[in-house]
């Protein structure tokens, strides 16, 4: 519960209609897309501009009230669940595209803009914003920046981080800072832009962003490679990269995933094969054609049983859309889907896929694996039931083992979903004590009262690393 004094001050800043604290309104901001995280905030506030955000932060800082920025609540690491109560900050009134600068190839947006709306707006001008997280139709740019979201095109074009060039950020003390600029080069001081991207709302509140755009690729083509052998598909991925071809998209879907996705999308996906690679290339027509031929050849050498070209852009789009629904479609199997995004160097994809299957067998779990194989980012997803506590224990053990294996192969515990509350206990495995100490020092310097999204990234207790027995 907020003290009455705090409540009055906050209402004075944003006005009554932008302040909600009824039980109903608090309940619907008590969760995000991460299973098993729910906690009620004390109030939900929708500021109208940066100045109001600054005023809100001053009040929160003075009274030590936690504050959690939230876009559309689609994140998968418990990043926007207000685990320590306090205020959920919404950006539904700060959702404008402020400028598309065709001379500097940038777009400047407020944090509440829906990713796909912005993508469509810039594409209408022949420009291209590559990051395309699967939730792009729902997620906001602010959320993408805070989580440093990836997507299907990450392999060739990188992730959100690679496109953020300037930010307006409100610091916990109410200071408003501007980082970067519409600049291709800028080495004036620490790279605060990059520090903020992916900081999950723990260092400052982003209120405006300028993103880099690139020219729209001339053409794009899509194909599917079908396999009866999981490792053959995974080997093809590493081999394509080793042959110095960087496709736009190189997605992996195993049979259980294919089945549920087809059940939802009904677009005629092959469900009688063990695995499928969804491959796309964009660029000048002749390059696209040549690369696709080469990749098809590599897939055949690796025992692909069939290669299918998408006949039209509609067909290609249906394939991409179906792939984006994979995670949610797995919920058709069982009510709870626990998903991870362990990431390994691309050369290790086949080893990782194999390890995941062995771990699933060992713990007797239904694990569906899909993901952005081309950039080493896999999403092993366990279909389970949160009410089955015994199985949930096994799920936890299995995922601890998957994390451990990923790190052993030179990888990481999360490629694009973020640490949030969910993976905080495992962060030390990746960063070691010393790495955590550096992060803690930064956090304390910028947010001494720990009001910004507390309980995220930093764990109260780190998990003990299990030793993998092979």
């Amino acid at each position: 519960m907020l003290a009455n004094e705090v409540r009055e001050k906050l209402i004075a800043i944003v006005s009554r209609e932008n302040f909600e604290d009824s039980k109903t309104e608090r309940l619907v901001y008590s969760y995000d897309a991460t299973p098993n995280f729910q906690s009620l905030p004390d109030a939900v506030i929708s500021p109208r501009n940066t100045q109001e955000v600054a005023e809100i932060l001053k009040v929160c800082n003075e009274y030590k009230v936690p504050i959690v920025p939230r876009g559309s609540g689609t994140n998968l690491c418990g990043g926007t669940c207000p685990t320590e109560g306090g205020i959920v900050l919404l950006f539904k009134q700060m959702n404008q595209i402020l400028e598309i600068d065709e001379e500097n190839l940038t777009v400047t947006v407020q944090p509440g803009v829906i990713t796909l709306d912005m993508t469509n707006a810039v594409e209408a001008r022949g420009l291209f914003y590559p990051p395309d997280p699967s939730s792009m139709k729902i997620s906001t740019i602010g959320g993408n920046i805070n989580e440093n979201s990836g997507g299907l095109r990450g392999l060739k074009y990188g992730v959100t981080r690679d496109y953020v060039i300037a930010l307006e950020v409100v610091m916990p003390n109410g200071d408003i800072i501007r980082t970067g600029g519409k600049l291709a080069k800028d080495v004036a001081g620490y790279d605060l832009t990059r520090l903020m991207v992916g900081s999950e709302g723990t260092l400052g509140i982003i209120t405006e962003a300028t993103l880099k755009l690139i020219p729209m690729p001339e053409t794009k083509k899509t194909m599917l490679a079908l396999y009866q052998d999981l490792s053959a598909a995974a080997r093809s991925v590493s081999k394509i990269i080793a042959n110095k071809i960087i496709p736009t998209t190189l997605e992996f879907l195993d049979q259980p995933t294919l089945k549920v996705v087809e059940d939802f999308a009904q677009i005629g996906l092959p469900t009688d094969v063990q695995a499928v690679l969804l491959i796309e290339q964009d660029g000048p027509a002749e390059v696209v054609e040549r690369d696709l031929q080469k990749m098809a050849e590599i897939c055949r050498q690796e025992q692909a049983v069939s290669i299918q070209m998408a006949a039209s852009e509609e067909e290609a789009d249906a394939l991409r859309t179906a792939r984006r629904a994979a995670l949610s479609a797995i919920a058709r199997l069982k009510p709870t889907t626990i998903l991870e995004d362990a990431t390994v160097p691309r050369s290790e994809i086949a080893n990782m896929v194999q390890a995941i299957n062995e771990i699933a067998d060992k713990y007797k779990l239904d694990i569906c694996t899909f993901g952005h194989a081309g950039d080493g980012n896999l999403h092993p997803t366990c279909a389970t039931d949160a009410r089955n506590h015994e199985e949930m224990e096994r799920v936890e053990q299995a995922f601890a083992e998957i994390f451990s294996k990923a790190i052993e192969l030179g990888g990481t515990i999360t490629g694009e979903h973020g640490v949030g509350a969910m993976k905080a206990p495992y962060l030390e495995w990746k960063l070691k004590k010393e790495g955590i100490a550096v992060m803690t020092a930064i956090k304390q310097a910028l947010d001494p009262n720990n009001i910004l999204n507390p309980g995220k990234v930093f764990a109260k207790d780190s998990r003990k690393r299990v030793v993998v027995t092979r």
Binding site: T24, V28, S328, R332
Partner: protein, 441 residues
């Protein structure tokens, strides 16, 4: 308003009756958000979204919140258009959850005396009884023909009604006479070579207020080579009851309909109202806990088909020449026809087959027009916001004819045209009426 005591009972019933698996099946990915009209129109309020509403229902079951006034408001404002269902990768049956929740709330709260009287009269006294429906519509016809309508309009009586109701009065179709409504066919032969034997679900409103549209439907079926059986024992589908929190009556109506149709030995049971069809096709869910009826319901639902779907399946548009004077036509989806019966391309195929028609798809044709059963009467303000958006999109197509496939949507379109002052150059029409026009041209 619900008292604390009522809230307690509602909460207990939520725990006993809500399908926990279905609630858990929502994994909160948010894929439903961009399709929800109330989420969009509320300025992106999560409490007015499917994900939010499911979370609220679950929270009541879990005891995290009480089913208070805000909770009820969130459910009340839902159109029940079910646009969230086809886009849900997890396959959550939101409509079923909503129906059960509304039933629990309505059965356990004390409505004010006038509200109770109206609900009783409409849900129990009127719709389940074909004879009373005919008499009521007959009275409306008397009102229109006797000169009373002219008088009422002149003396400003309609000014006493809420604005949307007053406008609604203007757009009501010409009512048939009681005699016309009584002499309904029971059997019609196929014209030409017979390919199918079908039964026609005539519906309560459709067979009275929209009698002309029912006649057109049967004529088209005959021309398409179908022998048509119309069992006189059939009754209202029960959709209004199901959506309005009167599930018990809905189940009784369902049983009577199953009985009326099950021994007819037909290929399909045809409907021409998306709202009815969607409810009929869900009878197996409605009666799933009734061992005597669940299999019979399943057999019934497997035969339910919308008229457009059947016409396309039998190549009606290729066999019969369809012509109209040159005009631009657009189509407004009936939400339940599209989202529940999964019929969206057939009506478009038929319209595009008419010579003289330039078909222009409207932006967001799949978004609810705000009619939503009795939503436009009980939630008039919100309904008009939806309608204004719809009319903006309709106008942008430059269409002179807006086609739809459900009586509620049709009235709402006509209301929209009237509100925009466009009745001189735009009309709303049911697809079968337009098709029959095209046959006769």
């Amino acid at each position: 308003m619900t008292t604390l005591k009522e809230q307690e009972v509602i909460q207990q019933q939520f725990q006993q009756r809500m399908d926990e698996d279905e609630l858990l099946n929502c994994m909160r990915c948010g894929f439903c958000l961009p399709t929800c009209p109330t989420y969009i129109e509320s300025g992106f309020k999560e409490s007015h979204s499917p994900r939010g509403r499911i979370a609220l229902m679950k929270a009541v079951v879990d005891g995290l919140i009480e089913p208070d006034e805000d909770f009820e408001r969130s459910l009340d404002l839902c159109l029940g258009c079910r646009a969230c269902e086809p886009v849900c990768p997890s396959g959550v049956n939101y409509g079923h959850l909503l129906e059960e929740a509304r039933d629990i709330i309505n059965q356990n709260k004390k409505f004010s005396l006038p509200a109770r009287a109206v609900r009783g009269a409409v849900f129990q006294g009127l719709f389940p009884h074909p004879e009373r429906m005919r008499r009521t519509v007959g009275l409306l016809g008397f009102y229109q023909r006797s000169g009373l309508q002219t008088i009422a309009r002149k003396i400003g009586f309609l000014g006493l009604l809420p604005k949307s109701l007053a406008t609604m009065e203007k757009v009501l179709p010409q009512m048939p006479s009681v005699k016309e409504m009584k002499n309904r066919p029971k059997h019609l032969p196929a014209l030409g070579v017979q390919t199918h034997r079908v039964a026609f679900f005539s519906g309560c409103l459709m067979d009275t207020m929209f009698l002309k549209t029912n006649d057109a439907t049967m004529k088209l079926l005959q021309q398409a080579g179908c022998e048509v059986v119309i069992p006189p024992e059939q009754v209202c589908c029960g959709a209004l009851h199901g959506h309005g929190g009167e599930k018990a009556t809905a189940k009784e109506l369902a049983k009577r309909n199953i009985q009326a149709f099950e021994d007819l030995d037909v290929d399909f049971i045809i409907t021409n109202a998306g709202g009815c069809g969607a409810f009929l096709i869900d009878y197996d869910h409605l009666l799933k806990d009734d061992p005597q009826w669940c299999n019979r319901a399943k057999a019934f639902t497997e035969k339910i088909k919308d008229i457009s779907e059947v016409l396309v399946a039998v190549d009606f548009h290729k066999k019969v020449k369809l012509t109209l004077p040159p005009q631009v036509v657009t189509y407004q989806d009936s939400c339940h026809l599209r989202n529940v019966m999964k019929t969206s391309s057939a009506p478009r195929v038929l319209l595009q087959a008419i010579e003289g028609v330039r078909y222009q798809e409207m932006k967001d044709a799949d978004r609810c027009c705000g009619s939503a059963g009795i939503y436009n009467i009980v939630e008039s303000e919100s309904s008009m916001v939806m309608l204004d958006y719809k009319m903006t999109q309709a106008k942008a197509t430059h269409a002179t004819t807006i086609v739809t496939a459900n009586p509620g949507c049709l009235l709402q379109m006509q209301l929209g045209i009237e509100r925009e002052g466009l009745s001189a150059k735009m009309r709303g029409v049911h697809i079968v009426d337009l098709l029959l026009e095209a046959v006769q041209e």
